[in-house]
Amino acid sequence: MAASQAVFADTGIKARLMVGMEVHVELSTRSKMFTSAPNVAHPDYYEAGPNTLCDPVVLGMPGVLPVINKRAVEMSMLVGLALGCEIAKQTKWDRKSYYYPDLPKNYQISQYDQPLCHDGQVDIPMDGEGTKTIRIIRAHLEEDAGKLMHEGPGGVKIDHSIVDLNRAGTPLLEIVTEPDFDSAQQAVTFGQTLRNICRSLGVSEGIMQKGHMRFEPNINVIIEKDGQTYKTPIVEIKNLNSFKALHGAIEYEYQRQIEDWLETGRVMKSGAKSTRGWDDVKMVTVLQREKEEAHDYRYFPDPDLVPVVVDDAWIERVRAELPELPLVREKRYTEQLGLNVKDARALIDEPKVCKFFEEVLSAGVEPKRAAAMLLNYGAKRANERGCAIHELGVTPGQIKEIAELAAADKIGSSAADELFGHCCDPRNQGQTAEALAEKHGLLQVSDTGALEGYVKEVLANPKNAKIVGDIQDGKDKAIGALLGQVMKLSKGQANPKLVGDMIKQQVRGS
């Protein structure tokens, strides 16, 4: 923000950004929020064709009724607990009315005044060191709308609009924070933290391109000039679905609101919240709606649904499902397991890989070694194959064997990498790593008899006379040249440490 302030240095003002966040998370339940139709946010249905995830409830047909998806409520409770929220003992459902073709009933079932989760707080890591606490006002459950499109698939021009209701009725958790962010980066970090939490809880895949998470920051600026404080009008930016857009929109608004204030002196009035959209191409925000009062949603309790009563036993059952949360885990990995922050985060960011890592640890592999193997040998191959590390096929038991073979000097580091690759090969399923090492000739030769033969052959080669002389003169570095030749003769299977010792001993006689 220092840079931003500099722009206005000559105006004699001090400006502080103030941002609150509304985040929508699509929950990845198997079925929709209020019916058994499949949920497009569940991985099994990502590729479903338009309007195939529909039933009479999704279509809002006459006489059909909503029924609550209990798992969606539990997933929301999980997120609420992870964000330190209170879980309401009783929560109800309200209808939010507005007409739009992607909203089949022309009302959305939401929670107006009794959200499922409220009053929480969560720590986010700060740029430099330490963490910042963000207060959560509420997290409530609702149903998503479908999608209205004004061009055909592949950008084909059409003279009408088309609607895809696959997304209609997907469980949507809306999380609302206090205005606790004073930089765009903090808002982004919160979004990333929340994404990591949701992924580690298994309540969302968090794929931004699919709209699994959408951000709506509420932004204004506190300006101090000549000892007076002014607040610019609050602007809500709608539907940001990438961290880049979130960052860009907040930065842009910060500048725009200060400029607007300098020009017009406009300040915040109660109820006067305007809504803007983000233009990803021009990198500017665009006014959508001037006043919130333009909409009267006519909220009232949905008479088709009964309130959900949450007793302590239910909360405790859900709490028991809570895994170790990402920030706690990061602390444990770095402080107790000795991993560096980069490796720890790389593992934690992929909950399934992280689970696999924990299995490797349980198999008895030393943590740093396990992390290194997964993030080097594993990541490289996963990347090539376009899959995740835990999907490669190598088992924790094989990884343990590879680690043990290396520790016992039975394989070198390049052989370990290659062996890891063989373990990933589906044709080698069910074989031990040791058997594969043997089969592919990766085991180092530590048989002194065989090695001595190679060493003698190399030392006897007249071309090496000068090198042998250097070694005799105490130049250890020269050993490397001969070592290379021995390795070559042994087809890379010689144990290099043993060979080095052998050369020294033979040349220097000690």
Binding site: P56, R298, L305
Partner: protein
């Protein structure tokens, strides 16, 4: 036997005993429909082929159950996978549902044969069927008069023996009021007793499906079949379903019948007053105690109802927008005109009036003054009944202030029409069960009473939540004493 001149239970037994076949019974009713539906317009459409096929399956032993072979009708706001579900509205004139209402599924699983769908006030909003977009049903006792509403087609169908039993829906009296005006039995069960899945919603917190029949025993049998919790309706109750048909003829011991002064207005028709007096005498003679109960918030029922019901309706009917199904205006040029023209063309005047009323009541700035206050009064009305049922087993009261009125008599004044539901709406507000029975007759000029013939008037019994079993036994006591069970209009 003539299968159309009997009761549902008797017909069921006759078919089971093979004294008459389901096919004969179905043909007999279809024949009567052919002869009489023209002038009465009780049915909007019939399913003769399907009905006869099912009847053949009953006769062939492929379909069995407690209603095997019994021809019934259902109100045209209950969705079925066959035929149309129109709600007597142009909006849904060509609508075919891809699902069947749970209550109808249960009836058919029990072996009932659906003959067709009956006319109603559009979206069940009205008390005369004059709000049907396809013309009203007519009262078999006097075709110049309304059959009541909104389940007017159902009541007319029963009264004219165009089916052995009928299923309607009751949001503010829509089963009981037409039952009274057509001289048949109409039962509104406790809210949550019967699944609403597949019933096109008018006001979700008030709507309840129930039977219209010739006798209390018929109503008990149909209630037995349609009751129970449904995973597709969160508001259906997990309360066990007792046997409503057993012990029907043994009156409850130590019976206390409540009389509320708020229901005994001087404006009630003389025949209505006489019906109540006669009913009181029946219970007194049977050794029951007649107790005065107080329902002080009764007078607020209609105004409260006309906030709650339209508020929910305005939201429930928002889905009819011309986008996915139902009427789409060919005149629309953009999204807003698609919405406004489709709805203006598809909805009749009364439906539009209630959508506007409800939208207003829910609007920001009016919500607290209207909707929230209405909910508070609704609670008070419920508390009135809770208190009253501490001292009585059922409340005896009129179903309507008077007999059937003439077509057009109340159409100029929505308020006069609304007031016809003054004695029925509060049962919906409180969620309690209510049953209307034939209680006597008004003279054809509508000015006094007769001892038979003329225009029927109803008596109503209101009971505590989920106490249908007792309520039916109480009603049966009256029915047995009054002896109106076989009263029928003479059709030309």
């Amino acid at each position: 036997m003539d299968p159309t001149k009997t009761t549902l239970v008797e017909l069921r037994d006759a078919i089971a005993a093979k004294k008459v076949s389901a096919t004969e019974a179905t043909r007999a009713y279809l024949g009567r429909i052919d002869r009489h539906n023209g002038p009465l317009h009780a049915y909007h459409e019939t399913y003769a082929d399907r009905a006869l096929q099912r009847a053949a399956d009953v006769d062939g032993g492929k379909i069995t159950g407690p209603l095997a072979g019994v021809p019934i009708s259902i109100k045209d706001n209950l969705c079925t996978e066959y035929g149309h579900t129109t709600c007597s509205s142009k909006m849904l004139e060509n609508f075919q549902a891809p699902y069947t209402a749970t209550a109808v599924v249960k009836l058919e699983q029990a072996g009932a044969i659906v003959l067709g769908k009956t006319v109603l006030d559009e979206f069940a909003m009205g008390s005369s069927t004059e709000n049907s977009a396809f013309g009203p049903a007519r009262n078999p006792w006097d075709t110049q008069r309304v059959p009541g509403g909104s389940s007017g087609g159902a009541a007319a169908a029963i009264a004219a023996d165009l089916c052995a039993g009928s299923i309607g829906s009751d949001t503010g009296g829509s089963i009981r009021q037409p039952a009274a005006l057509c001289g048949v039995v109409g039962l509104k069960p406790t809210y949550g007793r019967v699944s609403r899945y597949g019933l096109v919603a008018f006001a979700s917190s008030l709507d309840q499906i129930g039977p219209l029949t010739h006798t209390v025993a018929d109503a008990a049998l149909m209630l037995q079949v349609i009751s129970g919790q449904d995973p597709k309706d969160s508001t259906s109750a997990g309360v066990p379903v007792p046997d409503y048909t057993e012990q029907l003829d043994s009156p409850p011991q130590g019976l206390r019948i409540g009389i509320a002064k708020q229901y005994l207005s001087d404006a009630n028709h003389p025949a209505v007053k006489r019906a109540i007096d006669q009913a009181v005498a029946v219970y007194r003679d049977a050794g029951a105690r007649i107790v005065d109960v107080d329902l002080p918030h009764t007078e607020y029922g209609i105004s409260t109802y006309y906030l709650v019901a339209p508020a929910e309706a305005s939201s429930n009917l928002a889905r009819y927008d011309g986008v996915r199904y139902g009427r789409r205006s060919p005149e629309s040029t953009d999204l807003i005109s698609l919405y406004s023209r489709s709805r203006a063309e598809g909805f009749g005047e009364e439906v539009q009036r209630r959508i506007m009323l409800g939208t207003y009541a829910l609007s920001s700035g009016y919500y607290d003054a209207y909707y929230v206050r209405a909910l508070k009064v609704r609670r008070l009305i419920k508390q009135d009944f809770d208190a009253a049922f501490e001292s009585c087993d059922a409340i005896l009261c009129p179903t309507t202030p008077g007999p059937a009125f003439r077509f057009g008599e109340k159409t100029d004044s929505p308020l006069a029409m609304y007031l016809n539901d003054v004695y029925t709406v509060n049962a919906n507000m409180a969620g309690i069960p209510g049953i209307s029975l034939l209680g006597g007759f008004a003279s054809p000029d509508g000015l006094s009473h007769t001892d038979g013939g003329g225009l029927p008037v109803g008596v109503q019994f209101l009971g505590p939540l989920f106490e249908e079993a007792k309520l039916l036994r109480i009603a049966r006591l009256y029915e047995a004493a009054a002896g109106y069970t076989h009263a029928r209009p003479s059709l030309t």
